[in-house]
């Protein structure tokens, strides 16, 4: 766990933009190959394709084939990055990921944009809210979930340097930046981005900036809230969870994911295993499908935004 003291949010920048920018930064590495399934301009992988057309493989709508091909490319020394929406990165080709990539132990980077209900108007068919569960269940799979543009760059860099299979969930909307710049990151780490005494919020993905906003607002009401950015859902940064559990009124886990198999369940199970009894609360998609709507409206509707998080924290401190 690293400690930061973030006092303000930066101007909005889309997390998925980090993917295109990152790919360009490693484009000279002949091992890097990017596969696209007819969504390159949405995932931003197309940026790489414009500069390195020979190592950009556009196969159309064939997600299962993409995962199998990625395994094959890795088998002959390439570092394949697969690109499509989170739903088509995990659900459709799950068994290809499990057997061809993970069980075979290939160095494949599964990059998924459009995670969570943040995907918005397309509706539940396109809102992947079960990916932590699906990917986390695969032995050895690392599950990363950056919170802003700069953390996405940092995580992608670490993923590229690491040898092994990884899943990275990125999201669609433009959201305020949490960090001022790219930072050194080792896979598995969480960051404490704001300290506080009363309640700890453990969050992942774009809910992190909502949590930070909530914490900064509550500060003015005399409520002291710590915020942890869980850039890694699996492995879980146990030290960070234990640190969070020391807060007086408990721990709130916030994620754009269903409860089952998500960060909230992972945190609960760790605390139970360590024999630590602390009040726990959760903001997530429960056991529900999302619905169509603008990202901001949906986050309000499901209580995932700063207002929703504040309301829950007030309940926790009674």
């Amino acid at each position: 766990m690293k400690r930061y003291e973030i006092k303000t949010l930066g101007p909005p920048k889309a997390i998925r933009e980090a993917y295109g920018d990152f790919l360009l930064s490693v484009g000279e590495d002949e091992r890097v190959v990017v596969i696209d399934c007819d969504l390159g301009h949405s995932t931003k992988a197309a940026k790489f394709g414009e500069r390195y057309p020979d190592r950009y493989v556009e196969i159309g709508i064939q997600e299962q084939n993409m995962m199998g091909m990625a395994a094959g490319l890795a088998a002959v020394g390439k570092i394949p990055f697969t690109s499509t929406f989170a739903i088509f990165s995990t659900g459709r080709p799950w068994e290809q990921i499990r057997l061809s990539i993970a069980y075979s132990n290939f160095n494949v980077k599964i990059v998924a944009t459009h995670g969570g209900i943040a995907t918005g108007e397309d509706g539940a068919s396109h809102q992947m809210t079960e990916d932590f569960a699906l990917m986390g269940a695969i032995p050895g799979m690392k599950v990363l979930s950056p919170s802003d543009y700069y953390s996405a760059l940092s995580v992608l860099r670490a993923v590229y340097e690491y040898e092994g299979y990884v899943y990275i969930r990125l999201v669609r909307p433009k959201t305020p930046t949490v960090y001022p710049e790219e930072f050194p990151y080792s896979l598995g780490e969480a960051n404490l981005i704001k300290d506080g005494e009363d309640v700890a919020v453990i969050a992942t993905g774009i809910p992190v900036h909502h949590a930070l906003k909530a914490a900064l607002d509550l500060e003015k009401e005399g409520v002291s809230v710590a915020v942890y950015d869980f850039l890694s859902v699996k492995p879980l940064d146990e030290e960070a969870v234990m640190d969070a559990a020391r807060k007086r009124h408990g721990v709130l886990v916030v994620e754009d994911h269903v409860f089952w198999g998500g960060l909230g369940m992972a945190v609960s199970s760790l605390l139970a295993r360590k024999g630590i009894s602390v009040p726990l609360s959760f903001v997530n998609m429960g056991d529900e499908f999302g619905r169509s709507g603008k990202y901001e409206e949906l986050y309000r509707y499901y209580g995932l935004d700063a207002e929703g998080i504040k309301a829950r924290i007030r309940e926790m401190i009674g």
Partner: protein
């Protein structure tokens, strides 16, 4: 088809196109190109070809329609409103948190959708299952599925096609909305699905080509042909124009899905005879 019917369908086609533009403009999101390309196919199915009851959309022996290319649902929702199955006010809440019309067909939120779609090619297998089940029950109902050319890239499509062919599901018709485009460009350049008819025939299907998929008369001949085929499922390949009816959208892959500015919205409506 008599001239009155034809005139009525053409008027409806104009109305559906206006609805597609209005809905995607108000939502500031959604898919125009692929919705505009199946307007005539959809209208003919719901108003002439399929055995359905306007007063009872869930009538048990109805023919089933599966919109496998689910992103093109603005057309379907507009047709539902013309059938009187949903309030037209709902159209203006398309894709909104306070509306029921989801960005892709949702059987959960609107049971008028025979199945949820949006993940391409999944509708193909569901349609095969429906056709098989209906046959098991000895029902006269037929199943129609609208598929896209990019869906021919998905493996699942071919699994469905093989099974339907081997089971001889003659109560099943796929209509291919062959507009030649997908999101990133021309389907033939991205991953060429041709020769389409030869492939389907190899899988024991009968095929029929409609040169102009926006011509009601040609389409009607194709559907009449399909009903007459015995022992095999049928594919109707309809050559269509993505973005049909709006000059700046026609055959432009960018208009698969794009936010309509006020200027372009006005321009599109003007082309559809509405002066705002």
């Amino acid at each position: 088809m008599n001239p009155d019917e034809l005139k009525d369908l053409k008027e409806k086609a104009l109305q559906v196109r206006r609805d597609i533009i209005e809905m995607t403009y108000r939502a500031q999101s959604g898919h125009q190109g692929g919705a505009l390309s199946w307007v005539e196919i959809g209208l003919l199915l719901f108003f002439k070809v399929m055995n359905i009851r306007r007063e009872d959309p869930f009538y048990e022996d109805r023919d089933r329609f599966v919109l496998s290319k689910g992103h093109a649902c603005a057309t379907l929702y507009s047709i539902w409103s013309l059938l009187g199955w949903i309030d037209r006010e709902e159209l203006w809440k398309f894709r909104r948190v306070d509306g029921m019309l989801q960005g892709h067909p949702s059987r959960r939120r609107t049971p008028l959708a025979e199945t949820s779609t949006g993940s391409l090619s999944q509708g193909t297998s569901v349609a095969v299952g429906m056709a098989l089940g209906l046959k098991m029950w000895g029902k006269p109902s037929r199943v129609y599925a609208l598929i896209s050319d990019a869906e021919l890239q998905e493996g699942q499509t071919w699994e469905a096609v093989e099974t339907a062919g081997n089971k001889g599901l003659d109560n099943l018709t796929f209509i291919l909305d062959y507009n030649g485009l997908q999101i990133e460009g021309d389907v033939h350049e991205i991953n060429d699905p041709t020769p389409i008819e030869e492939k389907f025939r190899a899988f024991k299907w009968e095929t029929y080509r409609v040169e102009d998929g926006h011509d009601f008369v040609q389409l009607y001949e194709a559907f009449t042909w399909a009903k007459g085929v015995k022992g095999k499922p049928q594919l109707i390949v309809a050559r269509t124009v993505k973005g049909k009816g709006i000059s700046f959208m026609e055959n432009r892959y960018e208009w698969h899905s794009k936010v309509l500015t006020e200027d372009l919205y006005r321009k599109a409506m003007k082309e559809l005879g509405v002066h705002l």
